[in-house]
């Protein structure tokens, strides 16, 4: 078997920046192998991906040194369009990749560029739509597909070029758990076909089956090797801002033999060595929060006027002051629709919403912003100012506060999100994690009692996810009611006190966190799974949620 990709001493610095995005990167990928690239935000993963199909340095200009050779072609000397026969690139943002009005035309686009005859294009559309499981959606409009389907279509549209190497840059980041599984099953198929496959991903689960894992940090590759070697070096993973496989972390903390990368492997190890005896699970009954109800939905139905789809059906929910609640469920299950009722962005078609016993209809929308803050998923949907100070003070200026008070509130809000001293920075130039914090601060500045966050950790690396959630925990301790919408099960498990599972516009499950995650069957109905540690915990019968709690329970038991 030959070498598919060879990277020699590759360095790249984007034009108009000083910090190199890649520094003396070396690597070799054998034909037909599967490589997973991991690393923190800004580690150079995307730059590396783009350097394989000549987007770097052709599309993104900058200072380029070193050599990248893909199937005997030196990339820097080729054009992007010519590289497309060798390297297919799937991007994280599936919305931006799709632009046709039907599924089949989307797939046809690449082969048309290659000047293939019509019957060959037809054959490829057939083959690759079947491959990604979209064969019966040929005439559908891509905009009407679910997130997972869109990303699979994006993969098919790249595969139709029949590239020798397929590169996927965080293909599952913007997807719900079901969509993620759909995309990963496609990459499984690709692997079985022994295609050369490079995938950037944050989840250690994906890396488990890789032939090689490359770990990147600050533009350099700091580790290369089989997953069992790279993913068990917890200290190194930590430094690279990558989430360690929780089962490995547990076994290391307990001093148990073996480094199981998956829950199944961990269970096998425990049985083999008799490390612990499974016992019946008794989820702790968390003390009932006896504080007053702050938000309440009573028999709420909601129908989107333009789509005539019932997004909420008979939802009843009481949220008490000072709760930390996670809303989980697939896309389209009604989580965001529900959350938008809590600050009056949407008005129920039937039923009523109350804030401290007052019907929301009686409260002015601008006033509502001071009671319930809502942070949208993408911070770029709201940032518009030249400085962080102006951005964060926006809602206060809207409320007509005096400049001195605004100054104080802004400083306070920035301190809470850990951005003190950023007042004069230009928000657009900050990292995604920092922009996310600016968005939170700009909502916090109004000092709302309730703060709702839509997907606060999506698109952030593990390190930023942690610090974002620690910040929310801190807000919660200060007495705020925190409501998050999330796809990330470990985030919900570790930080929320109560989990509400939505399915098809109804509440499927509403329980304290540990109890909710003990109901694997019910979760499966909503196509959800507890995070790995709790799956193991459910099998073992431990009641703790965090790694530390489980270590304590198992260490003494």
């Amino acid at each position: 078997m030959g070498v598919a990709i060879s990277i020699q001493d590759l360095s790249f610095t984007y034009a108009e920046t000083t910090r190199p995005a890649l520094q003396r990167v070396n690597g070799e990928v054998e034909e037909g192998t599967f490589v997973v690239i991991m690393g923190h935000e800004g580690a150079g993963k995307s730059t590396l991906c783009c350097s394989l199909n000549a987007l770097v340095p052709r599309f993104f200009r900058g200072e380029y040194a070193g050599r990248v050779v893909v199937h005997d072609v030196e990339v820097a000397k080729a054009r992007v369009a010519d590289m497309s026969r060798r390297v297919g690139l799937v991007l994280q943002d599936f919305e931006a990749q799709l632009f046709s009005t039907s599924v089949e035309l989307e797939v046809a686009f690449g082969p048309e560029n290659l000047r293939l005859p019509r019957d060959e294009i037809e054959r490829r559309i057939d083959r690759y739509l079947r491959f990604v499981g979209l064969a019966d959606m040929r005439r559908r409009e891509p905009a009407s597909l679910s997130g997972g389907q869109k990303q699979r279509l994006a993969i098919a549209s790249v595969l139709a070029l029949e590239p020798l190497v397929l590169v996927m840059d965080e293909p599952t980041t913007d997807l719900d758990p079901l969509g993620r599984e759909e995309v990963l099953s496609v990459s499984d198929l690709l692997r079985q076909e022994r295609r050369t496959l490079l995938v950037v991903d944050h989840d250690p689960d994906t890396a488990v089956d890789a032939d090689q894992v490359w770990l990147m940090r600050e533009g350099e590759i700091v580790a290369q090797g089989p997953p069992r070697q790279v993913l068990t070096d917890l200290a190194l993973l930590e430094v690279c801002g990558v989430q360690p496989p929780p089962t490995v972390a547990l076994f290391q903390a307990l001093g148990w033999p073996g480094q199981p990368l998956t829950v199944e492997e961990a269970i096998a190890r425990i049985q083999e060595h008799g490390l612990a005896r499974p016992r019946p699970l008794k989820p702790p009954t968390s003390p009932v929060n006896g504080r007053p109800v702050i938000l309440e939905l009573r028999d709420v139905d909601y129908v989107y006027p333009t789509r005539a789809v019932e997004a909420l059906k008979g939802v009843n929910l009481q949220i008490r002051e000072g709760e930390f609640l996670a809303l989980v469920g697939q896309n389209g299950s009604g989580k965001t629709t529900l959350a938008k009722h809590l600050n009056g962005l949407l008005k129920p078609t039937r039923g009523e919403v109350f804030f401290r016993g007052r019907p929301l209809g009686e409260i002015r929308r601008t006033e509502m912003a001071r009671f319930v803050g809502y942070v949208f998923q993408n911070p770029d949907h709201q940032i518009f100012s030249n400085t962080v100070r102006e951005e964060v003070g926006f809602s206060l200026r809207m409320a007509g506060m005096n400049p001195k008070a605004i100054e104080e509130r802004v400083a306070e809000a920035l301190a809470v999100v850990g951005l003190s001293g950023y007042e004069e920075e230009v928000p657009f130039t900050l990292t995604k994690g920092e922009r996310q914090r600016v968005a939170v601060a700009s909502v916090l500045a109004a000092q709302p009692q309730v703060i709702i966050l839509d997907e606060p950790t999506t698109g952030l690396d593990y390190r930023h996810q942690r610090s974002m959630m620690e910040m929310l925990r801190d807000l919660h301790r200060r007495g705020h009611t925190v409501i998050i919408i999330t796809h990330s099960m470990w985030v919900a498990a570790e930080y929320a006190e109560r989990v509400v599972v939505m399915k098809d516009g109804r509440i499927l499950l509403d329980a304290p966190t540990r109890a909710a995650f003990a109901q694997e069957q019910t979760l499966a109905e909503a196509s959800l799974r507890p995070p790995p540690l709790l799956r193991l915990g459910n099998w073992l019968g431990t009641s703790g949620i965090t790694l530390e709690a489980m270590v304590e329970e198992l260490g003494t038991g």
Partner: protein
């Protein structure tokens, strides 16, 4: 929200070659322009409704019912004051309404509605790609056609992002519903800047994705869409041409006219 009007049906109208549809809709526009007598216009409008039914485009007529009704009503109310006819009905100072101008106004209302109806039939039966492909076959250079179709394509994407941005800023206390026009214009900044930045990012990503799929506008390419001019196409074009010429002939003979103007 779907701003596109295409309805995925399989009528004979859908199956026509996009070139036929482009030329055909131009001929329909021509026919709509010929008469200014309300009865003749009513016949044309009725014909378009029947055509719409055959092309299964009526759901879109229904969707646009307010616009269609508005066009007819406004035109009927306003036109009498601008067209002068020989038989006065009513006058007030310099304002004057005549029998002919009233009839002319009704005809103009029907004409506008018929215009929209013809356009609706076209858009209901032609996808974005077929349309651009038709234009290319009629001689439009590919890069121009591609830019055109992509621009069309991006409208709903940006509309969606715009809606989210409005909600995000309302949640932060932006009051978009009150204030005079200048105050409202100032509120455009918190909405416009994020949308602009989103648009730049999005188009940049799209450009990356296109190049990665081997796109090169200057080079020749093949087509998966392969419309053929069939017998039905020639028949449709012949029928429409005959109808247009016949209408023109009638009008030149003095039929279907209440006022001697367009």
């Amino acid at each position: 929200m779907n701003i596109f009007l295409y309805l995925d049906e399989n009528t004979w109208f859908h199956r026509l070659d996009p070139r036929t549809k482009v030329i055909g809709v131009l001929l329909l526009f021509g026919i709509v322009m010929v008469f200014n007598h309300p009865l003749y216009m009513a016949a044309v409008a009725l014909g378009l409704v029947l055509l719409g039914a055959a092309a299964k485009a009526l759901p879109n007529f229904w969707r646009m019912r307010y616009i269609l009704a508005l066009l007819v009503v406004f035109s009927t109310v306003l036109w009498p004051f601008f067209a002068k006819g020989p038989t006065p009905l009513w006058s007030w100072g310099r304002l004057e309404v005549s029998r002919e101008s009233l009839m002319y106004a009704v005809a103009m209302g029907l004409r506008l509605a018929s215009f929209v109806a013809a356009g609706l039939i076209f858009l209901s039966t032609t996808t974005n790609e077929e349309f651009t492909h038709g234009l290319i076959r009629l001689g439009l250079p590919y890069p121009v056609a591609f830019a055109f179709s992509t621009a069309l394509r991006l409208v709903p994407t940006f509309a969606g992002a715009g809606a989210t941005i409005v909600q995000a800023q309302i949640s932060r206390g932006l009051d978009v519903e009150s204030g005079n026009i200048f105050q409202r214009a100032g509120k455009f900044i918190p909405l416009g800047v994020p949308l602009f930045i989103y648009a730049v990012r999005h188009t940049n990503m799209l450009a990356m994705a296109l190049e990665s799929k081997g796109f090169n506008p200057g080079e020749p390419r093949t087509w998966y869409l392969n419309p053929q001019m069939r017998r039905a196409d020639y028949i449709a074009l012949a029928v429409l041409t005959v109808l247009f010429l016949a209408a023109l002939f009638l009008r030149l003979q003095g039929y279907g006219q209440v006022l001697p103007r367009l």
